[in-house]
């Protein structure tokens, strides 16, 4: 929509200005790592953070959420649809791609009203990544190193100022009445072109093949022995799915108080990597081994989402790889499948099955 320049010196004032109008959340330091949290004071905000433990999706799909409350005596129930006007500052482009997928998932079929309420009242301020955030990220391979069009504002670090792309009216509203921004000069344009040109070579392609081949590669790998190898070392702890920006599976429970009259139905993030996840009534577990569960996760990230929603389910953030205590990573997994494919092993195993 438009492009503005905000001097870095004005950032604290802008955050304070936003805080008077919205709940403002952003990356903050915690014990050597970074978490998205409410910004109490502008100096807590760390916009040049590497990555966060949990992705910002937690503001759209909270870890625990009450769906409705009920009263067993009056036989009444009441939907609990909560929202708070929120600005999320400093969303990396991989997480923006993830939110794009979550938006699609939660608007398809029965729309998820809880998600919708959070989403509609959330304004996303993304930030351009100028160098790799950590060893495990592989955004360039996954095509998520540029921001998708869903941003409200998009910041680019230009040294002593930020370039501010305005992507929506919601984004524009974050600047309305804030005076310490100006229209770019020709030097500003030169600067942003230089920054954008220089950033690209800093990132490497980490998949040994083009991502468009990934769904077919996975289709061929259904009977690969690699899944058993992963199943042997996997702890089944579920951390990979907890930190994933595109995972959205949840478990639903009813709890009542001790008087057995009032209660609530809540949902909590769940994980396809834990033993009981695919256990159905009658006790049958249709993904009873860690091997099957690992295969399911990688299929979902690299193939199923694409088929169902037209968007790939892995955005290359690298969080799962960083969290995994036994070093299972999407890059190694996909590359190993590709290596075996090149040797003809996948086809051989597919035939044998």
């Amino acid at each position: 929509m438009s492009f503005k320049i905000m001097p870095k010196a004005a950032l604290p004032d802008w955050v304070t200005w936003l805080k008077n109008r919205y709940r403002v959340v952003g990356p903050t330091a915690r014990q050597g790592q970074y978490v998205f949290a409410e910004i109490a004071s502008p100096d807590e905000l760390v916009l040049d953070y590497p990555t966060s433990v949990l992705p910002p999706k937690k503001y759209l799909l909270p870890q625990r959420e009450t769906l409705f409350t009920f009263d067993a005596q009056s036989m009444q129930m009441k939907a609990n649809i909560e929202w708070e006007p929120t600005v999320i500052l400093g969303v990396h482009t991989c997480d923006m791609h993830a939110i794009r997928l979550l938006d699609k998932v939660h608007a398809t079929g029965y729309t998820d009203q809880h998600y919708q309420a959070h989403r509609q009242h959330t304004t996303l301020v993304s930030i351009e990544c100028l160098s790799p955030c950590m060893e495990h990220s592989f955004c360039k391979s996954m095509g998520t190193l540029t921001v998708p069009e869903d941003y409200d504002l998009h910041l680019t670090d230009l040294g002593d100022s930020y370039g501010v792309d305005v992507g929506s009216e919601k984004g524009e509203a974050l600047l309305q009445g804030f005076t310490a921004i100006w229209d770019p000069t020709s030097e500003d344009y030169q600067r942003i072109n230089k920054v954008m040109a220089e950033k690209w070579p800093r990132f490497s392609y980490r998949l040994n093949f083009d991502v468009t081949e990934l769904p077919d590669l996975l289709a061929l790998s259904n009977n690969s022995s690699l899944w058993n190898e992963l199943g042997d070392i996997c702890l089944g702890c579920g951390q990979c799915t907890k930190v994933c920006p595109t995972c959205y599976c949840f478990d639903v429970r009813d709890e009542v108080d001790l008087s057995l009259t009032k209660g609530e139905r809540t949902r909590t993030w769940d994980s396809c990597q834990i033993d009981r996840f695919a256990t159905v009534a009658g006790g049958h577990n249709f993904r009873s081994t860690r091997a099957l569960r690992n295969r399911h996760r990688f299929m979902r990230k690299g193939k199923y989402h694409l088929e169902a929603y037209g968007l790939i389910g892995c955005v290359g953030c690298g969080r799962c790889a960083a969290a995994c205590l036994v070093h299972i990573t999407p890059v190694d997994t996909f590359n190993e499948l590709y290596r075996r494919h090149k040797k003809g092993e996948l086809l051989e195993e597919a035939k044998q099955a």
Partner: protein, 251 residues
Amino acid sequence: MSAKPKVAFFEFTSCEGCQLTVVDSLQDHPELLDAVEIVQFREAISEKGEDYAIAFIEGSCSRPSDEPKLQAIRQQAAIVVALGACAHLGGINAIRNRMPLQEVREYVYGDRAEWFETYEPRPIKDVIKVDAVIPGCPIDRREFIKAVTHLLQGRMPFIPDQPLCMECKLKENICVYTRGKVCLGPITLAGCDAICPTYGDGCEGCRGLIANPNIEAMRQVMHEHGLTDEAIDAKLSMFLTNQIMALEEAG
């Protein structure tokens, strides 16, 4: 609702810390006393009613003479709940199960070892049928209230079978492994709201193992983080001796 269900508390080999947690839970939930009638509870009341329907049993069974007492409770109670790690797993009492029993007895009781009967501490489910378990050392007070609520609803207390890492990550704790400590979270049943990692310590496994844990991988992770085989054995024996021994036996 009909009359309040009568509830009794019992203790075997334990520190009675789980029952103290029950007393503690009354601070947040005094309405518990409106929901049930406690007829026997050594930690809190002098009365000793024998007409209970629900028995909460703390402690492991560590002597042959515990067995008839447990059986008597089972005979009276419609529902028996194992309260805490000792009743659930054998608890820290079971550390000695990897050692020769006679040596242990002599170490503890000296030349009077023969005066005291004792055998391998075991979970009470090895002696009587147990309907439900509230795990932990000590139990989690919120989980206790939840379990009572479930019982009042006429269903068995339900604790999701998932590893501690799940809860820990929901809280966005920084993994204790990255803070230079060792943790049994990946193989331990969640439900304590990851209290130890939240306050900076690794999980000791007091709530017992998840279903189908990958013990070998867990050992490998601890090894990678600097623990010797001996230290790993010690880590896995604090609360998990009986469960790990059973897994070894099953192959």
